[in-house]
């Protein structure tokens, strides 16, 4: 009986939608992992902004790193009869049951930032960045930047064995494959932190003839790059000129370094996963257009030419 009622309600919603009411009356539930990093906080802020821009009512649930909280939140969203659900899944497995419940109620589910190991028909689409591609953009930038000059690169890897570390390394190697003049001479883990990034860079500089032989440092995230920049400065070299600095993530602090000419380029891991998700949802609800199962976010390259201070000001308030 209850199910029939809900089904009727769902049918009614679809009827109103198809009769031309725009997405303005949409209510969307968003189950966020938590706020473990600055990037995650920025993603939450941007998602709220994107919802507001589109007139979508966003119901937000913070799972504090626990899958059980996310599943509870999703069940809550289903009971409230939301029009769609966004999930940033904390782990890759264990979602089948709750996704089936959402599917039975005809509520489309969109994954943000991470993918899961469930049958693909259980969700509408996944909006994520391509970590291999991020590394490739960084590598290609460097190849173009140095031209035909010989270039020894040192690499600061992320936490050993983590997927961004593996993928961003792989991507960078693909990016510089064509340029035989570029060689990665040293590669160590900096655990994605500033302290370790600085410590590892110090030892690289000592191991490579006082740093004069190093032409560029590639860091798997901006925090390690910020640490490396300090190490380069303390060794009496000029970061950005003597040793080029390229990294990934595009957090606000790296733009400050770029404005001072101490960092050269960063590849953005955009916190705006919700924008493309809402676009796909709109198209789906309005025209019944099934989106692709994977929507890749843009991995935008920022250099010193992109007015770094302006980007810094724009990003500062996002909660990074």
């Amino acid at each position: 009986m209850k199910k029939a009622l809900v089904a009727a309600a769902a049918a009614a919603i679809f009827a109103t939608l198809s009769s031309g009411v725009s997405a303005q009356s949409l209510t969307v539930g968003f189950s966020q992992i938590g706020s473990e990093s600055g990037w995650r906080a920025a993603e939450t802020t941007v998602t709220k902004q994107e919802a507001e821009k589109r007139g979508v009512t966003l119901k937000f649930a913070d799972a504090q790193q626990k899958q059980e909280n996310q599943i509870k939140a999703i069940r809550g969203f289903i009971a409230q009869g939301v029009d769609a659900i966004l999930i940033a899944p904390v782990v890759a497995t264990g979602w089948d049951a709750v996704l089936k419940e959402a599917k039975e109620e005809n509520i489309p589910v969109i994954l943000l930032d991470r993918e899961i190991e469930s049958p693909k028909d259980l969700y509408l689409t996944a909006v994520t960045s391509d970590q291999v591609f991020e590394g490739k953009v960084a590598g290609e930038w460097l190849a173009k930047e140095v031209g035909s000059k010989d270039c020894k690169v040192v690499e600061l890897q992320g936490t050993t064995g983590s997927s961004p570390a593996i993928n961003r390394k792989k991507g960078f190697e693909e990016g510089i494959k064509a340029a035989t003049n570029i060689k990665i001479v040293r590669s160590q883990t900096g655990d994605f932190t500033r302290t370790k990034g600085k410590e590892v860079m110090e030892s690289f500089i000592k191991a490579e003839g006082g740093g004069k032989d190093i032409c560029a440092v590639y860091a798997h995230n901006d925090d390690m790059a910020v640490g490396a920049i300090q190490a380069i400065k303390e060794a009496g070299l000029k970061p950005g000129t003597d040793i080029k600095v390229v990294s990934i993530d595009a957090v606000p602090d790296i733009f400050q370094a770029m404005a001072k000419g101490e960092a050269n380029a960063t590849v953005e891991l955009t916190p705006n996963m919700a924008g493309p998700a809402f676009d796909a949802l709109d198209a789906y609800l309005k025209d019944k257009k099934e989106p692709k199962k994977w929507i890749q976010t843009e991995s935008k390259l920022y250099t010193q030419a992109d007015d770094p201070m302006k980007v810094y000001e724009a990003k500062k308030g996002l909660g990074y």
């Binding site: 706020s35 473990e36 990093s37 600055g38 906080a41 890897q157 050993t160 064995g161 040293r186 590669s187 160590q188 883990t189 655990d191 932190t193 500033r194 302290t195 600085k198 410590e199 590892v200 110090e202 030892s203 690289f204 000592k206 191991a207 006082g210 925090d223 910020v226 640490g227 300090q230 303390e234 060794a235 009496g236 602090d253 909660g319 990074y320």
Partner: protein, 343 residues
Amino acid sequence: MHVITRRLRRLAPQLIALAIILGVISLVAPGFLTVSVQNGRLYGSLIDILVRAAPVALLTVGMTLVIATRGIDLSIGAVIAICGAVAASLITEGYSLPVVIAISLGVGIACGLWNGVLVAILDIQPIIATLILMVAGRGIAQLITEGVILTFNDDTFSALGSGAFAGIPIPIYLWLGTALIVGLLMRRTALGFLIEATGINRRAASLAGVRARFLIFAAYAISGLCAAIAGMIVTADIRGADANNAGLWLELDAILAVVVGGTSLNGGRFSITASLIGALIIQSINTGILVSGFPPEFNLIIKAGIIIIVLTLQSPAVMTLLGFMKFSRRRETLTHGTKEATR
């Protein structure tokens, strides 16, 4: 003279281990041992070891005392994060350097006293008592930094982490100075002796008139103070307070340094100098791995392997074996000698 040889004999296993490790690294990475002067300051991998060892060395000073009282302090990594966050937030609010340092040290001592209350007064087991602050501490630090890496631009404060005085980096002064003051306090007064008595048998010490409760309090307070200094160095070094990562797992490195230094986790006799050499051994391994150029997948295995070797060589079983071999050799020469004489 006799005192010096006796002390050297106590420190011999640690010193030999350190020398062997430095020797092996210099074989793998040529130029490892060269120290030069650059921009008016000492420069080289050996200097890096002394600078980078600062946080663990400072923690080790406090940890040695705590372990000597038969306790353990798991919270110091989190105390680093708290004190770093306090220092960074005070600096961004424009307080002067002495105020920042005084308040940060005060917060560190307060953290230590909290542990002291739990251990000395409530008699909670140290490992559990300090686990509370270990878990809660990072949360407190995150509350202070509001979950972001709190960065600042203050050249005088950041000198604590990356500055130099008379060519020698300031962190080296800080940890050597702290160790010297605490060491003199322990060995030039009866404090060290009384702490050892407390660690060996608290009840007996109390009955003999030792104020064991006060001494345990003091040990945890000093541990908190050392962690506060370490916290400021770590924060000044990267010009920012990273509540998630500052001092992460350093308490374990400090415990390891104390054990490598030959102080028993069962409390009692302790040597701050030996613990500090232990800290230098750990940092030499870390820096050595970085300059050697091995892929990062090997880092932890190499570190664990070397530490197993060092600990095995110091283990009571091997010591007994060595003693036995020496003894039997002496007896051999003795019997040999008597045979010669009778002939």
